[in-house]
Symmetry: C2
Subunit: 530 residues, 2 copies
């Protein structure tokens, strides 16, 4: 599939796309004789973004692509040598030159599944030096993808299933790759498509686009197209001068800008089966709407149907209601019923609040383009994922800092999702890897975070959360396609109870610890604070 | 220089990294016989970011790299054919295949200069179809670079010239390229360096990094390094077991975590001349600080000087004051004067407000690492640059939308910066390209935005703002290096008066119109609203 033919997207995530301290620590591990110690890291977040109670796991595809290609080239090693101490043992650089991910194992939440605080999105195990070096690139690839997917899922929840949501924020992204990532993962999170052509080419995201104000304002009305004639939609009969035809229709409708009409005619000649008008280059009511109607009606005479209008300024909801009224009236007056339901697309700095207004009952808006909000996630522009050491040499490790928020959960772990008899999600359980899995129908004692006592739960179903996805340098099973992951998002969200799915002040979804994991936390605490 | 050897960074900004409507408009222009009409676009922003009164122009280097390489490959044209109407004239695709930027001319604000609302950062002229296609990639390359550079300049103004500011937000960026762009342009804006190794390799940004909590917590204290011996700094005399030596010193200082000490010893063995301690993996006061002192003093005995400590949690200012006191006391007690001034580095979600506190007088913090705030610019995560058609076929064009904020200034323009006799900036003037330049010492009548009457100004100096930088497919003069642009930033900021440089509620810097440009605006308005 297209995503696999992405040499340039992949090339950007190179081994040196990392924080320098990964390389200095690598030298430290190597000097201490610990480069090959077996280590395990977990990648997770501590708080759900945007004040919500869920996030979506995303970015795995990019991580796997990065891991498969991970190798330091000669130029990379030379650069590292130039920023490390000049008397560094050359054997260290030989060690770097030989590195790859053939001894790295990754378990992951499947792309598009629900993710909750503390539950690993990735478990990465392998030689200490290598898995340390992977930290920054993996964080970079997972955090933003998951943030954008979650943001898109929220916007989809607000818009409801019917509205067509298009991401169009490429120009607001953090450079080329930010744009590509945003387009890919807002589609995964529930958008219908993107304006970003590269995301279509490389990732198979459906693309959409029509015309900008520059196209409209580039016409004065005096231009003469080399071929102004358009043949009827059925392909039979003589061609017709579309501009002249639109002029005739215009007299039925009023006195608009001739350049705008010329632009619409030019666009309609290029796209007779996909004509859309951008209505607000001059005045929507006095110019854009009449010009659109004239061209759409002229096309209609030839058997073509216009496919939409777009508004990019002003009160979008209000204008959409007025335009729909005019469409209905014109459809009746000129006996062209399809005109009544021409889709109305809107854009212009739409955030969650504006989207809720546009999606309200009775709204005549059909398509919503979202740029800045989809790409920059201004409510919270980063997810804050972390990558923490949980075990080394088979021994659990824990960061016991004085800031309780920054403490970590020790040990190699397994994670399970417990479901009720109605299929709804009850809670996630973290436990030590060697513990037996919880059993459906059996009572389980677990520790909610910060609780003084355990509580019990009897799940009707138990789902293991982390799948083995990368081992010995290779993918263990084919990754689902982007479209399949996108479907998983909607399925996952449907299993979440309304109080957890709510976007404002939701109930927190619980992630609990098994009794043995809680005991391990307590014993490491006790050992550190005598 | 390094920036030119950036095949993979450049490859990401490909011609299809664009909004689909650029391609549909291209077909519309082509069908209307206007593909080769001479057109001019301006790239500018409407409001300064972050509530300030200035921005910095940045990203030109990436734009030039993109323009030079601009060409649609066969696979690109085939993809466009797959998303455009199936009956599109094949001659259009032949036209696309032959496109390049050999007829495109770009004038630009020099990299690192001050930019104000409405003043073009780029003027792009050439065949209508090509310069339309360039819109999205140019916006993508300029907007974020300028935003990050401006953000970094503000943080530098807050921190003052002495503090060392390091960008370390790669993991919070919008994917690989967001990280690379952030590292590059935060350096341009006034940071001292970055943690991002790739920015060092590809862009020559100074890189910095030491150790993370994972390094510290990976040690239990029972590990035996293969070679625990360290030779004295002078290179003479027998090697010494550094761990044992630190243990001796530790008895002078107290009872800390043995794993943390082992980690510090391991790091010091790898970096005897660049030893830094990360103090807060367990407890700063009870463990991190004594362990650091023990290892630093042991190293000191061998003639090495520790170079710093880092804190990543808790009250950073308060802890820095306490640590400095301990350093001074230990320096006196053990007669190692250099210990008193070991730099203290801090990090942990530092925003403008937190930075102001850390930079206050008397603060003992020396180095400040900034991640999320440098990369995501959470106060305003996008700059909102636009790219607007101003002339076509030699005729001025203007978007006259009902939203006055979205109106554009017509015509091919020149821009000048007027300076007072003390070298301070007075205002920027936009005028028609064919008008004579304002003369130093001569009175000039200009129109401030929205004014009812013109005002007069007599500049002591006049600087043309836009430089011809790209013509006939090539760079017109070598671009300054990143370091030179970085120096220009500080020079430019120093010319800005304090009331414009102020970060909160600054006085707005005026961008005025020449009388002829104002008259053109008025006449186009009058023509559109009869």
């Amino acid at each position: 599939m297209a995503a696999e033919q992405d040499p340039e997207g992949r090339a950007a995530a190179r081994p040196l796309l990392t924080d320098l301290y990964q390389a200095t620590m690598a030298l430290g591990y190597w000097r201490a004789g610990r480069a090959r110690d077996a280590a395990e890291f977990e990648l997770f977040f501590r708080r759900c973004p945007f004040g919500g109670a869920f996030a979506l796991a995303a970015g795995l595809r990019d991580c796997v692509r990065f891991l498969r290609a991970f190798r330091l080239r000669d130029a990379d090693v030379q650069f590292l040598a130039s920023v490390l101490p000049p008397d560094t043992d050359p054997a260290f650089f030989e060690h770097l030159r030989a590195l790859d991910c053939s001894e790295v194992t990754v378990r992951a939440l499947p792309e598009g599944s629900l993710a909750f605080p503390g539950v690993p999105l990735l478990q990465v195990s392998g030689p200490l030096l290598v898995v340390q070096l992977l930290e920054t690139p993996l964080l970079c690839l997972v955090s933003y993808a998951s943030l954008v997917a979650t943001n898109a899922a929220r916007l989809r929840l607000i818009a409801g299933p019917e509205k067509r949501l298009l991401e169009m924020g490429l120009r607001r992204a953090q450079g080329p790759d930010g744009g590509l990532t945003a387009s890919t993962y807002s589609y995964l999170g529930g958008f219908d498509g993107s304006s970003n052509v590269l995301a279509g080419q490389l990732r198979g995201v459906p693309v959409a686009g029509t015309l900008a104000h520059s196209f409209v304002t580039s016409f004065s009305g005096s231009e003469v197209p080399p071929d102004p004639m358009l043949v009827p939609a059925a392909g039979e009969g003589p061609g017709v001068d579309l501009a002249a035809k639109a002029q005739v229709w215009l007299e039925h409708v009023c006195e608009p800008h001739p350049g705008e009409r010329a632009a619409f005619v030019a666009y309609a000649l290029a796209f007779p089966r996909a004509f859309q008008g951008l209505l607000d280059s001059y005045s929507v009511r006095r110019s854009g709407l009449p010009n659109f109607l004239a061209v759409a009606l002229a096309l209609g005479e030839l058997g073509y149907r216009a496919v939409g209008v777009r508004l990019d300024s002003g009160d979008l909801l209000q204008q959409a209601q007025e335009i729909r009224k005019v469409f209905r009236a014109a459809a009746a007056q000129f006996q062209v019923p399809w005109l009544a339901s021409v889709p109305i697309a809107v854009s212009n700095n739409i955030d969650e609040e504006a989207l809720a207004r546009l999606a309200q009952e009775g709204s005549e808006v059909n398509v919503i383009g979202i740029g800045t909000t989809a790409v920059t996630c201004p409510q919270q522009p980063s997810l804050g994922c972390v990558y923490k050491l949980v075990a080394v040499g088979g021994q659990p490790r824990m960061k016991l800092t004085e800031d309780p928020e920054k403490q970590t959960l020790p040990g190699s772990k397994a994670a399970f999702r417990l479901l009720g008899s109605d299929g709804s999600l009850l809670m996630d359980v973290l436990q030590l890897a060697e513990e037996p899995a919880p059993q459906a129908g059996q009572e389980l004692r677990v520790w909610p975070p910060g609780a003084q006592e355990p509580c019990t739960v009897r799940p009707a179903q138990v789902e293991p959360l982390l799948r083995l996805c990368f081992q010995q340098g290779q993918l263990c099973e084919p990754l689902p396609s982007l479209a399949e992951s996108r479907a998983l998002v909607q399925l996952s969200l449907s299993q979440l109870s309304p109080e957890h799915r709510r976007l404002q002040s939701p109930a927190q979804y619980q992630v609990v610890l098994s009794e043995r994991l809680q005991a391990l936390v307590n014993s490491l605490h006790a050992r550190a604070s005598p």
